[in-house]
Symmetry: C2
Subunit: 100 residues, 2 copies
Amino acid sequence: VKDIESELERTKKLRLERQEKIGSLKRGLEDLNDRIRKVSEAQGTCPLCGSPLTEIHKQKLLQELNEQLESVRNALVSMESELKEIERRIRELESAKEVA
Amino acid sequence: VKDIESELERTKKLRLERQEKIGSLKRGLEDLNDRIRKVSEAQGTCPLCGSPLTEIHKQKLLQELNEQLESVRNALVSMESELKEIERRIRELESAKEVA
Ligand SMILES: [Zn+2]
């Protein structure tokens, strides 16, 4: 029984870590979407610092931002499936504890 | 009684206009605070477009943004006191209607 307890403890800690990581990835996604909107609406100058922003520069920026968005989305998908796995394991351990 | 009704109608419309203006001023305040935070955290390059951002340019930007913040705050204060005035007038008209 002792083994089940300590594994349950460890797995719950893991769940908490994953949930925190998912929260920060979601905030990263919002920030990227906000920047993509601001850059695509920009007319000739940067809306934040006022420097000239040529069409070529603007397109390059949007491409970089969209690539970052893609990688954050992929990281989020894999974190969420890891979390599902961890929650399944926790349910397994909790029912094992009851019959032990 | 007809006069009171039509004045009440007009004043309620005015109240709605003021409430909408206050909402958009508050969104303006949030946007300015967000930009001030981003510019003050910037290290040598603009966080949005990546152009070089000298310390002198950064200070100038922060000064302009803080001036804008000040004028939006003042506009908000005067809008809110106008709204209070309008609400007082609506209460007056509504009690006049009851005794008429
Ligand atoms: Zn910029």
